[in-house]
């Protein structure tokens, strides 16, 4: 009986061992990359809203402060989505006949709330609190990106746990002065690696062990 495998099969088998190792590693890399990809995290995805509200126009163009609408950001876990009444503070005077704004007027007229689609959606077992982040120098932009340049709001960050922990492990890399919280396009006045630790001390931000305790976010 002749040989089933030719001589070069030896080289093939050696090569294939290496290839398998690469394949496994590659698969691992693929899974991890996929897991972090926008496809899974829904980052950078446009979401259809009942009214195509433009932050670019309102926040960037006109320069309305974030807290004019998101009133509870400093006191509550939720930053707050403005009631219809807030829209009509201006739009009862300007653009008050625009067909574009009819859903808003209809909401006010019929006392039926507008229904927005949530863009930044954390899992239900995560308890994020806006007020403490704002009080400790985390700017709006740090998590939400350049909202003033967004015609429609999109999620800019992955909102995955590793992203949260990135800051919770060392907040000094991200904190900013309290008067710059709502500032878009903020540039630190002195290098962040000098300013950051100073601010962390000033804000009396808890140490890593506190910030990474499970029950800080999961209850």
């Amino acid at each position: 009986m002749s040989q089933v495998f030719p001589r070069k099969a030896n080289s093939w088998s050696r090569a294939s061992l290496i290839a398998i190792a690469f394949l496994v590693l590659g698969l691992g890399w693929l899974v991890l990359t996929l897991q972090r990809s926008d496809f899974v995290t829904s980052a950078n995805e446009f979401v259809e809203q009942p009214v195509q509200f433009s932050h670019q126009h309102h926040a960037g163009g006109i320069g309305i402060e974030c807290r004019y609408c998101h009133t509870s950001v400093e006191v509550s876990p939720s930053a707050g989505i403005p009631p219809t009444k807030t829209c009509l503070n201006c739009h009862s005077q300007i653009w008050n006949t625009s067909a574009y704004l009819e859903p808003v007027r209809a909401s006010f007229r019929e006392d039926k709330p507008l229904t927005w689609v949530r863009v930044h959606d954390l899992p239900d077992f995560v308890y994020f609190n806006h007020s403490i982040h704002v009080a400790n120098g985390v700017g709006c932009e740090t998590c939400h990106g350049r909202v003033d340049r967004m015609p429609l709001v999109i999620q800019k960050q992955s909102l995955q746990m590793e992203w949260c922990l990135d800051c919770h492990r060392d907040p000094s890399r991200y904190v900013r002065p309290l008067d710059q919280i709502t500032q878009m396009g903020y540039v630190p006045a002195e290098p962040q690696n000098v300013l950051g630790p100073k601010l962390v001390k000033e804000y009396r931000i808890a140490d890593v062990e506190h910030l990474t305790s499970c029950s800080v976010c999961h209850r």
């Binding site: 006191v75 989505i81 009631p83 507008l114 949530r118 009396r204 506190h210 029950s215 800080v216 209850r219």
Partner: protein, 1069 residues
């Protein structure tokens, strides 16, 4: 009798094959207990070491708990599982479902999304109000707390108030107005009532009757009295199945009129309870007395502060559990006992001799009472006949007891059973054409059996019923109007000392219910008025009459947790009109405070003196019952049956028996022996010619030849949970002897499965409970240290000690204050979204309560001492659960908590296996109701709702810690460092506790309350020899027994060196 909706009942038999493994041998039990082995025990099963108890002890869950016994069968289960395994990988790929945000159109002032608001209101039960603060998340009431400013609450609530929020959202509540089963509009109901009334106008209402619960609402009483002015021949009957007739009649006999005795237990060194469960179920003043009583059980500052409680009772109640000296005595003999005590203290010529077995006790009590003149009180129970109440009043007068007499909380006190009997007689005499029934008294189900109310009500031409449920009475009514829950309606309510609270709604009626004010308003000349207008108008005229409108307006309440209290959507136009600015201010303040300041009558308004001829008034002595005596009592968890459809309350173990989902006939071990009965045997009880069947529960410490059964079960129309659950004791109960009477019992030979949790999560033979007499405590305050097993210095650990620089949490539980009332358990359920599992699952140890109260007996089984030990997660420093978790789902936080991370948990249950306290709970099935929309409204949004396959346990209410920490951190600056202040975090169990037995706080702060309590000599750690260093520690019990040897005191427990303890050490279990 079917079990409940939970799957089929066949699996019960399979699961429970060992129930009859070994009968209890009472002789062996007695001889073991005589040798004081074991010192404390949970049940007679434990003492006799039956196979059943061992099953509970050695396995965390009973032997079949992990088996698949559903009707689906193993084969089809495997098929389904293989399919789901194949798809399991795919489930991880699902993206989160799209979530919507629905903001307000006009955001109400004060409403901040994400922050709860608290509104003051009140719950009325048994004819008296308890003030509440209700937590509201964006308009959804989720959690009930007590109102610290309310005299009957002082921040605490009972378990019914806690459970009532679930009834609000009960999907089985009646939802439509029905006329003989047809859905009708509200104006049709009004027209029907007006029609019925116009037929009555000629006879001035001679055929009209209004039947309500005990009314503590001044407005409602005024409304009804207004109807009675229009129809002077009509009658108003107040009736509840478990009423206070005896107390009222007793007061009338002794004092000449209906007044409420209000005892000042803070000034009482000696208390005698004559069958009065005043700490748990008697009357409506339990919270008030529990707080007062607990202040006299603290011995840290002054050991002589300790009071002495004598309890003479038939069943073993939580009050009996707190007794220093307790005597089990048949209810019918207590009158003779009280006469002997009265004779002993020389009360107004009352004489009598105690039953022979109680003579020594009676003379010892009389002697003690006489020696403490001015500092002793006698309290008679509502189940005792009027004579006992009158005698108690006479004794109190003779010993100068610290008691004041105040007007009753109900606006028009009456003797209710007599009124109901008269109503039935009138109906049978065809005098009644129209009957309006308002409230939850449900007479068709609960009226005394001899009155045959069910037959009588059929003879009435027009019956209008308004209640929360389409219940038994509704089925016999021509019209049924769904009632508004107290959290949905405007009202007002008076409490013990006369203080009135305005009841304000937290939410619009979910099912279009009408409040009693609105139903009664249909009978007045303005039939379509809403409850808000009625209540407000009443108080407007009352304020004008009493000149109270000058009070200052509201200011923001400082103390947590109240942030704001504003009236809920008053109808526009009904306020702010000219000339009532002053009233508006007062009104808002009343709503904000939850009490109308100054509404209590002045001291001495009802000053009453005991009639000098009281002895002749009670000369006719009640005859003691020969043979077996039957006692009827209110159910500890479902009240008189009105909470039968409330899953939280059904599943809450009864304080003493730890029975869930059922009632049982409690009998003494001796009676069980005489009749050859054991737990779960069905007996036939015959009383006044009526018979029912009921399962037996052997209750150590119950009076001999006596049976106690609670009413409220066996409902035929309660809803999905309550219908056909348990046995109906109302079928036995008559109107002449509503609380006790002669009976016969007969063993049927059949068995019934009782879901009793008392042996669940048992810990073998360890030194768990520690107690000392007052003398021992005075001699050696640090007695608990001597009961310690190993030397303190030998405690070594493989893990390095952790240093806590900031704050770290701890809890102290005072076993001298705890009465085991179970309010903390249900508060925990409400706060932490804990699911109801059902009777079948409770049978297999799968109840999910994070906090349990272990009830231990000690001493003689005929009259043992009881010890109550609330057991939440101990939050160990060297936690055995943490090291065994393969996925780090339970880890140590920087503030010392054992965090439980649900989203990491894969359900290995190793942690639970390794927990010496057995406080971890596993979601074996999908227990949480994820479908019923109304239940979703109730959930606490700050706590994760757990799914199947996840371990859970007490978190020390970490959501409350986090809320406080965030508040503190926001105010924390380098100039003014700010930590969480002591008292800023109040756990749910601590907040509700009427006895203030649970204290939580920062143990790093030496000035915190908890740190001070932990420094007390009474402080001890459970299972300290394991060196897990729990953060929850206990304060040992100190009993102030009367040392008189004739009283046969039980020995104290916890002394080191008991044989079981050693044996179990050697056994290496």
């Amino acid at each position: 009798m079917s079990h409940r909706l939970d799957t089929d009942s066949t699996q019960m038999g399979e699961l429970d094959t060992t129930r009859r493994g070994q009968a209890i041998d009472l002789k062996a039990v007695r001889s073991k207990l005589r040798e004081n082995v074991p010192q404390v025990w949970r049940s007679l099963d434990e003492v006799s070491d039956t196979a059943e108890f061992k099953k509970y002890l050695h396995r965390e869950f009973p032997s079949n708990a992990s088996e698949w016994l559903d009707p689906v069968g193993r084969r089809s289960f495997l098929k389904l599982m293989s399919a789901s395994m194949a798809l399991a990988g795919v489930t991880a790929c699902t993206v989160q479902p799209q979530e919507l945000i629905v903001p307000y159109v006009r955001q109400p002032e004060e409403e901040i999304p994400g922050k709860p608001l608290y509104f003051a209101t009140a719950i009325t039960q048994g004819g008296a109000a308890t003030g509440l603060l209700v937590e509201s998340h964006e308009g959804r009431p989720t959690k009930i707390e007590g109102n610290p400013d309310h005299p009957a609450s002082r921040g605490a609530t009972d378990l019914f108030a806690q459970g009532s929020v679930l009834t609000l959202y009960d999907p089985d509540r009646s939802q439509t107005i029905l006329q003989l089963g047809d859905v009708r509009p509200w104006n049709a109901a009004i027209a029907a009532i007006r029609g019925g009334l116009s037929a009555q106008s000629a006879s001035k209402g001679a055929g009209l009757r209004i039947l309500t619960e005990t009314v503590a609402s001044p407005t409602l009483a005024a409304q009804i009295q207004q109807v009675l002015v229009t129809y002077p021949e009509a009658k108003w009957i107040q009736w509840e199945p478990v009423n206070r007739d005896n107390a009222r009649a007793g007061a009338r006999t002794a004092l000449g009129r209906y007044v409420e005795p209000l005892y000042d237990l803070t000034r009482a060194d000696v208390i005698l309870s004559l069958d009065a469960d005043f700490l748990s179920s008697d009357g409506a003043l339990n919270l008030y007395y529990m707080r007062q009583f607990a202040t006299r059980r603290r011995v840290e500052e002054n050991a002589d502060n300790l009071n002495r409680l004598y309890v003479v009772e038939s069943d073993y109640t939580p009050t009996g559990g707190r007794a220093d000296n307790r005597l089990p005595l048949k209810s019918s003999q207590i009158e003779a006992f009280s006469r002997a005590v009265a004779a002993g203290v020389g009360a107004s010529g009352v004489s009598g001799t105690a039953p022979s077995e109680a003579a020594a006790f009676a003379s010892a009590v009389a002697k003690d009472l006489s020696e403490h003149k001015g500092r002793a009180v006698v309290i008679a129970g509502d189940s005792q006949p009027p004579a006992v109440h009158a005698i108690a009043h006479a004794i109190n007068a003779a010993i100068g007891a610290p008691v004041s007499y105040v007007p009753t909380a109900e606006i028009v006190p009456s003797e209710q059973n007599a009124a109901l009997r008269e109503l039935v007689a009138d109906i049978n005499a065809s005098k009644v054409q129209m009957l309006v029934i308002v409230g939850e008294s449900n007479p068709v189900y609960s009226a005394p059996a001899d009155l045959k109310f069910e037959d009588a009500i059929k003879r009435v031409g027009l019956v209008v019923h308004s209640g929360l449920f389409f219940d038994e009475t509704a089925t016999y009514s021509h019209w049924h109007i769904p009632a508004a829950h107290y959290l949905e309606a405007w009202s007002d309510a008076r409490t013990i000392d006369g203080t009135v609270s305005i009841v304000q709604p937290l939410i619009q009626p979910l099912y279009g219910g009408k409040s009693p004010h609105e139903v009664i308003a249909t009978m007045t000349d303005r039939p379509e008025r809403n409850g808000y207008d009625v209540v407000r108008e009443y108080w407007q005229s009352a304020a004008a009459a009493f000149g109270r409108s000058g009070e200052t307006g509201s200011s923001t309440r400082q103390a947590a947790p109240t942030r704001s209290a504003q009236p809920v959507s008053p109808k526009p136009g009904s306020e702010g009109t000219a000339g009532e600015g002053g009233f508006e201010k007062s009104w808002r303040k009343w709503l904000h405070d939850g009490v109308i300041a100054g509404s209590a009558p002045q001291a001495g308004a009802a000053a009453a003196t005991v009639a000098p001829d009281v002895a002749t008034r009670v000369a006719q002595a009640g005859a003691p019952i020969e043979g077996i005596e039957i006692n009827f009592r209110r159910d500890p968890t479902i009240y008189d049956g009105r909470y039968a459809n409330n899953g939280w309350l059904q599943e809450l173990p009864k304080p003493m028996s730890k029975l869930t989902w059922d009632t049982a006939a409690h009998i003494a071990p001796k009676t069980a022996e005489d009749h050859d009965l054991e737990n779960g045997d069905l007996i036939t009880i015959e009383h006044e010619g009526r018979t029912i069947e009921a399962p037996v529960f052997v209750m150590p410490g119950h009076a001999k030849d006596s049976v106690t059964i609670t009413v409220g079960y066996g409902r035929s129309r309660a809803g999905r949970l309550g219908t056909d659950t348990g046995y109906n004791a109302y079928e036995l109960r008559g109107s002449t002897a509503p609380f006790f009477g002669a009976a016969k019992i007969l063993k049927t030979g059949e068995e019934y499965d009782l879901a009793v949790t008392q042996e669940h999560w048992a810990i073998e033979g360890r030194n768990l409970i520690r107690s000392a007499t007052l003398e021992e405590f005075k001699k050696n305050p640090a007695f608990v240290k001597e009961m310690e097993h190993a030397k303190e210095g030998k405690r070594i650990s493989l893990y390095p000690d952790k240093e806590y620089r900031g704050q770290q949490w701890g809890m102290s539980i005072d076993m001298n204050a705890c009465t085991g009332c179970m309010a903390c358990v249900i508060a925990c359920v409400a706060e932490n979204n804990i699911p109801v599992v059902g009777k079948v699952q409770v049978k297999t140890n799968r109840e999910m309560h994070w906090l349990r109260i272990d009830r231990y007996f000690a001493g003689n089984p005929e009259s043992p001492d009881a010890y109550m030990q609330p057991l939440p997660c101990q939050q160990c420093e060297n936690a055995p659960c943490e090291v065994v978790c393969p996925v780090a789902a339970t880890t140590h936080s920087a503030e010392g908590l054992n965090d439980m991370v649900y989203n990491r948990c894969v359900g290995t249950r190793y942690c639970s296996n390794n927990c010496p306290w057995k406080v971890r709970r596993f979601n074996f099935l999908l227990y949480q109701d994820w479908n019923t929309p109304t239940f979703k409204l109730q959930r606490n949004p700050d706590v994760t709702v757990r799914s199947r396959g996840v371990m859970e346990k007490c978190t020390y209410c970490v959501q409350r810690i986090n809320a406080a920490r965030i508040q503190a951190k926001r105010e924390d600056t380098p100039q003014q460092p700010r930590l969480i202040r002591d008292g800023e975090v109040v756990t749910a169990c601590q907040a509700v506790c009427p006895a203030e037995a649970i204290v939580f706080g920062d143990i790093n702060d030496p000035n915190s309350r908890v740190a001070k309590l932990k420094a007390s000599p009474r402080n001890y750690t459970m299972l300290e020899d394991l060196n897990t260093r729990p953060r929850t520690t206990y304060l040992a019990a100190v009993k102030n027994q009367n040392p008189d040897p004739a009283l046969h005191n039980n020995p104290m427990v916890g002394h080191h060196g008991s044989t079981t303890h050693e044996a179990s050490e050697g056994g290496g279990h």
